[in-house]
């Protein structure tokens, strides 16, 4: 995402200070100040100027601001800029490193989000806890159920009702800087071994129980979703042995990989595709011993302060023309055949984004029980504080 914002400076710094001093002296009104300095948005917030909301297509009052909770490096900033241009609603992007963190924030109440991005295995729990409402599909007419690949999208429905619409699917593998690490790697077993040797002090794991514990389990030959105490104990032993050799425990590894502070990291499809695109020496590898395959969804929290805007953005993102641009920018594979039809060949043939079926076979979808299992939660917390 090296792309620069195109909009130019609305006003020069000296002119700004001049106007600011005039305002301070009281010789101009606040509205004049906001007008000339281009603080249109601030003016809209303060004065609630209805004319600024624009977007005749949106009959409903969408307000001027909304908030989305999502994952690191998961959207093209241009998408939100386009949404703001179309509707007058500015989008605040909050970034989280794990589903557990999102759940914790929603459980504590008043998250302030109007839309968020939970992963497949969490949706049934959100429904059970009453934290999300059934979606009114009519408010997202751009969504097309018939063109979805149901292999990925089933978990958005609970008891026949739709609670979440698919964003994209993906895999959890690892990214390795082959300029720094010469040993070829093919499995999670390799990952945890090299993290202690060739990548000593340079490897990262997610701050996320599902993948960090799951991949440790896989490297030991167990299921990604295991909650068996004896298997978890083995995984804990491995993780605590590896911990002193790690560079960091963080789900946002792109900055560290790009700066070559880190050479090896657990990695999601979209980050792998972005890193590989900008730095070809960074390879993205799926464990031949296993790992995760997942789908992320959009859902609306029950206590969302601006549901109208939440639906508007949801519908906007479901538009294939928007989704295809998002796809090209962030590199996560789509569940919607309408979007696939629009994609250029270099994306559909990219093996990081659309791996061969054989590479996907050993992977498992996350299981709902891992989200709430106290054993896994406590293991992760112990690992981090060890």
């Amino acid at each position: 995402m090296s792309k620069d914002y195109k909009d130019s400076l609305p006003i020069s710094a000296s002119r700004f200070m001049e106007e600011f001093m005039r305002l301070k002296r009281g010789s101009v009104s606040r509205r004049h100040f906001l007008g000339v300095t281009g603080l249109g948005l601030a003016a809209a917030v303060i004065a609630r100027v209805p004319g600024l909301q624009g977007g005749a297509a949106y009959a409903q009052d969408l307000g001027t601001q909304m908030s989305i909770a999502t994952w690191p490096n998961y959207h093209d900033p241009a998408t939100f800029e386009a949404f703001t241009a179309a509707t007058g609603v500015a989008v605040e992007v909050n970034v989280f490193g794990s589903n557990e963190e999102m759940l914790a924030k929603l459980q504590a109440g008043a998250s302030g989000w109007d839309l968020f991005v939970p992963t497949n295995y969490t949706i049934s729990t959100y429904v059970k806890l009453g934290l999300i409402d059934e979606l009114d599909i009519a408010k997202a007419p751009n969504f097309s159920p018939s063109t979805q690949n149901t292999r990925f999208t089933n978990e958005g429905m609970v008891d026949g009702k739709t609670y979440a619409l698919p964003k994209n699917w993906g895999t959890t593998g690892f990214a390795v800087n082959t300029g720094k690490i010469k040993t070829p790697m093919t499995s999670w077993k390799d990952f945890f071994e090299l993290a202690q040797t060739e990548a000593d002090g340079r490897a990262m794991v997610h701050d996320y129980q599902l993948t960090t514990i799951g991949n440790a389990l896989v490297s030991l030959g167990y299921s990604f979703n295991s909650i068996k105490p004896e298997e978890l104990a083995k995984a804990e032993e491995l993780l605590i042995k590896v911990k002193p050799h790690l560079y960091a425990i963080n789900s946002d590894y792109q900055p560290s990989m790009r700066a070559t502070d880190a050479w090896l990291t657990m990695c999601w499809t979209n980050d792998g595709a972005q890193l590989n695109r900008d730095m070809p020496e960074i390879a993205y590898i799926l464990g031949k011993d296993g790992g995760e395959i997942w789908t992320d969804f959009y859902a609306i929290p029950k206590d969302a302060p601006n549901k109208a805007a939440g639906y508007a953005l949801l519908n906007f993102l479901m538009d294939p023309a928007v989704a295809v641009k998002e796809h090209i920018a962030n590199g996560a594979p789509t569940t919607d055949s309408r979007v696939i039809a629009l994609l250029p060949a270099e994306i559909t043939s990219n093996k990081i984004v659309y791996p061969d079926e054989a590479a996907l076979t050993p992977l498992e979808f996350g299981a709902a029980v891992t989200l709430t299992d106290p054993g896994r939660a406590e293991l992760m917390a112990r690992f981090k504080s060890a």
Partner: protein, 274 residues
């Protein structure tokens, strides 16, 4: 010695210089200087979320510091008149408010308020005559309250120290001369403790304005400036953050200089009248 002290000042200011430098970066990355530009100042000030966070922080810092200054001063004056045992209880509570780590204050306040709201909101709903009963939740109130706790203890501590060094005879003399207690307070006591109240207010404001961890837990859906900065660090810092930090720094420097000048003038005036 001089070299060592210079090195420490360099250590203190190098990161600040870096922050200011990157606020003039042309590129959108806060880690690679690609050319000079002032565009981020404009962008920062037209970013509604950033300005909202700044305004929230100013409102919260000002309100909590003001309440702390008023209630803290009142408490410092009142504690003088309490029995030794009651005073000891207050001393202990104020000390606790200062030394209990912010992270514990944040968590404990969150836990308590979530329980209180879970109790109050249904009651409120059942008593409410209209269709949509109001729902109390976390927000300005909870941040101001949690910040005010520490700040009030701070103000009380500082003002009390000043009061204890205050001469009593002049207060008694004022009484002997038939001044009402209120007049005595306004004309004798207040001018003497005012500098310490102001110092307490400033400290309280600074604390609240820079606090992250307490607000992180009790802010609900509100965002303060430090929370916004923290979220930015996670999603990738743009020079907007550097621009706002630079503006805040410049504003506080201006305030220090103005305060200095005012104080010098006042001193000159008092010297002249003497």
């Amino acid at each position: 010695m001089r070299a060592l002290v210079s090195a420490v000042y360099l250590f203190l200011y190098a990161p600040i210089a870096l922050v200011v430098l990157f606020s003039f970066n042309a590129g959108r990355n806060a880690s690679e200087f690609t050319g000079f530009s002032t565009q981020w100042y404009g962008k920062a000030l037209s970013n509604g979320f950033l300005t909202d966070a700044l305004i929230n922080s100013l409102i919260i810092a000002f309100t909590s510091a003001t309440l702390a200054a008023v209630f803290g001063t009142m408490a410092a004056l009142g504690m003088e008149r309490l029995s030794p045992r009651a005073r000891a209880v207050f001393d202990g509570l104020f000390a606790a408010a200062i030394v209990v780590p912010g992270v514990v204050i944040g968590i404990a306040t969150l836990v308590a308020l979530v329980e209180v709201f879970a109790f109050i909101n249904p009651v409120l709903a059942s008593l409410w005559p209209g269709e949509r009963p109001p729902k109390i939740g976390l927000g300005y109130g909870s941040i101001i309250a949690a910040h005010g706790l520490f700040s009030m203890a701070l103000v009380t501590m500082i003002v009390k120290a000043r009061i204890s060094s205050l001469g009593r005879d002049i207060v008694e003399a004022s009484g002997d001369l038939y001044a009402t207690p209120l007049t005595t307070f306004r004309q004798i006591v207040l001018p003497q403790i005012l500098p310490s109240i102001l110092a307490g207010f400033l400290l309280a404001f600074t604390f609240s304005f820079d606090d992250f961890i307490v607000a992180f837990f009790v802010a609900g859906s509100k965002t303060t400036l430090p929370m916004y900065v923290f979220a930015s660090i996670r999603r990738g810092v743009t020079p907007e953050i550097n621009a706002i930090a630079t503006l805040v720094l410049v504003a506080s420097l201006v305030m220090i200089v103005v305060a200095r000048v005012l104080m010098r003038e006042r001193k000159a005036k008092t010297a002249a009248t003497e």
